[in-house]
Structure formats: C-alpha cells, structure tokens
Symmetry: C2
Subunit: 136 residues, 2 copies
C-alpha cells in the first residue's frame, strides 16, 4: 500500500528497468537483511537471466541513492537493510539472523561527551538468543 517500488526508483532518479524493479521489489520489502547473493537467488526466480553484475550494480545504486543501508555486521558477509531510519540491531547467535531493534527501545548516554570524536551516527549491536517471549 502506498508507494510502489517503481515510483520510489523514479523519484530517486533511477530508471526502473525490469531488472532493477525486480531487485527493488524484493530488497525494499524484506526484513531478512539479505546478502547480495541471497538477493540474486531471490530475483533469479523472477528474472532468470539477470546477471550477478546487475544485482550488485543495482544494490550499490540503491545504497548510493539512500534507499538502502549496507550492514557490515552480519555473520558471514555484508547485508542490506531497507530500514533507513536510525535503529539498532540484534543478532540471533542461534540462527545468524539479524533483527531490527527500534531506536527508542534503548537509550545511549554520553555520546556527546566523547572527547576528540565527531560522531555522525551510532547504533547498538546486540548478540544473544531470542527467548520464548513475544518478540518484534
């Protein structure tokens, strides 16, 4: 509901080609923080002839245009996160899956007091296991 992927691409100055649309429609909707190879696998189901280069190019383009954030904390490789807003990350050590943690769920104090460091952004990275209780 709301904006289609095609519109979002156009609004960011990206030609919505078939291949780019397929990548965007998957990666901008998922909360799986997929790696580039995972994205490739997913998208190949819809556009079987798409090349690896195109997937990588499109992902990097989306990052450059601010529609996607690179995640350098996943277990194996780099992942991508369509959640542009500041938030934290929880890594489930049992599954390796990365979950978003809302910004307001935690409070970090004294960031401004760090001497000699101009902090542009920060986040908390948590590791552990999901319990049986409800979880976001």
């Amino acid at each position: 509901m709301g904006t289609t992927a095609a519109e979002r691409l156009r609004r960011s100055g990206i030609q919505p080609s078939t291949q780019r649309l397929a990548v965007a429609e998957y990666v901008l909707e998922t909360d799986a923080h997929p790696s580039a190879e995972q994205v490739w696998d997913e998208v190949k189901a819809r556009v079987p002839t798409i090349s690896r280069a195109t997937v990588y190019n499109t992902l990097n383009l989306l990052v450059r245009k601010g529609l996607l954030r690179p995640l350098q904390l996943a277990e194996g490789r780099v992942g991508f996160d369509p959640n542009i807003e500041p938030h934290h990350h929880f890594i489930d050590e049992a599954t390796g899956l990365v979950h978003d943690v809302p910004w307001d769920a935690l409070e970090v104090r004294r960031v401004e007091a760090l001497r000699g460091l101009e902090v542009r952004e920060y986040q908390v990275i948590l590791r552990g296991r999901r319990g049986k209780a409800r979880a976001g």
Copy 2:
C-alpha cells in the same frame, strides 16, 4: 612488561611454535584491528616462509582460546581485536581505522527491558571523524 606472548600461549594450551609466536607477538600487541591479510603481511617480514593457512589457523586458534576477538564491523573484512574486555568501537570514516572506546565512556540503558531477547553481549558502534581535540 608483564607476560610474554610465549607464556600466554602456553598458558592457553597452545604450542608456541616459531610461526605462532610471530603471529601472536604482532596481533596481541597491536591496536590496529588488523585483517588476517594484514597480519600475514606483517608476519612475513619476520618469518618469510609462513603460509597463509598457518596465519589463518593461528588467528582462529587464538579466537577459540579467547585471546582474540573477531570484529565483524570493519570496512572491508573481518578484523581481530586483542582487547578481550567489553568495549565499544569508533570507526573513523575518513581513514577507515577502528578505535576502541572504553566501556565506561558510554552508558546504554534499558537493555534488560528488551522483550523476547536474551542479550549475551552488546556494544555501541560509532561512526564519524576524529576531531582536533585530544583523543585516546
């Protein structure tokens, strides 16, 4: 000052061979958070015939024995951190270098209040630039 690398290895049940000693003496002393390849380069200066496999094996061994922590946040690849104690990390976006931030310099609140998440450990990752002021 204090314990030699050989002693630390022996105490952890690691045979201090020439190669392992060379790796340990570099990686346990540096604060550069080097990648495995950087370690290889450094160590080759002292033990020119050392193989890549030995460097990787030794680093993984040191991690398994708790003498080293893997860092999955560096710009390019995984790095290694001889600082075993909990602490935070600041990534200088100008240089890509990773700097330690003492645990007590920041305060994170409400970690225990996260529903459905059993947090085993956490850290704050900050990105920005080092200012001209004094810095650790």
